[in-house]
């Protein structure tokens, strides 16, 4: 089944905009028939992905922008997040050992724990980075 695009939104890489993104993710997930518990988890994962862009790709530069697309192919939701920051070191993005109790570094773990699949890479010609996250909903 061809994936239907539910929404595409462009927003500034500002922490204050994350609440709006969470609302959109919740609405799209609910619209796609996800349970309340699954909606909660998808909101957490996408929020963490956006936070990583703000903190690690743009390094706090609030003039940066990112684009979130949400697609539904009938059995899965696909969340595609793109930024136009300098290409990041893909090897540096990995979950940390949770037995080590320290602040920070949990976002990647949350995303991997919640989503079924994650793919990340660089946009063509060094134009930025992307992260695609997939979650089964059937």
């Amino acid at each position: 089944m061809k994936a239907e695009k539910l929404l595409e939104v462009r927003f500034p890489a500002k922490p204050e905009r994350l609440c709006l993104v969470r609302s959109l993710v919740r609405s799209a997930s609910t619209h796609s028939g996800c349970s309340g518990a699954l909606c909660d988890k998808l909101v957490i994962a996408v929020n963490e992905a956006c936070m990583n862009v703000i903190q690690h790709a743009y390094k706090g530069d609030e003039s940066g922008e990112m684009v979130l697309e949400i697609l539904n192919n009938g059995s899965e939701l696909l969340f595609r997040l793109k930024d136009h920051a300098a290409p990041i070191d893909l090897n540096s993005v990995k979950p940390r050992d949770l037995d080590e109790i320290r602040p920070g570094g949990l976002g990647v773990h949350f995303i991997r724990e919640i989503m079924d699949e994650c793919r990340m890479g660089h946009l063509e010609k060094g134009a930025g980075n992307y992260l695609e996250m997939t979650k089964r909903i059937d």
Partner: protein, 110 residues
């Protein structure tokens, strides 16, 4: 996020309300560390927290570790369902002392 601070049973109780995300977790961290800087035992009341992200969780971890270093008591009370699911994801629900409310924590202290 809003917060209030009160004293109860030998603890400072920092009650957080609303969403604790990247836009306000620096303020939550500041308030937590301020209480600990003043050598006060601290409970963070999370009964009105309807969302917390990893930056908010990091503020709690920093508070927990700072209190430990300074021999102060630290804990969470009234953790809402949504906040608890995030703590569980981080596997911190067994690390932080968590009680239903301040009274339960005081009972546990004996």
């Amino acid at each position: 996020m809003k917060y209030t601070v009160r004293e109860e049973g030998g603890y400072t109780v920092l009650e957080l309300t609303g969403e604790v995300d990247l836009s306000c977790s620096p303020e939550a961290r500041k308030q937590i560390l301020l209480c600990l800087d003043e050598k006060r035992n601290l409970l963070v009341d999370m009964s009105r927290v309807n969302y917390i992200d990893s930056s908010g969780v990091a503020s709690l971890v920093e508070g927990f570790q700072t209190a430990k270093k300074r021999n102060l008591k630290f804990g969470l009370v009234g953790v809402s369902g949504s906040a608890m699911s995030v703590l569980q994801l981080a596997r911190l629900d067994k690390v932080f002392p968590i009680h239903l409310n301040v009274q339960e924590r005081l009972k546990a202290d004996g």
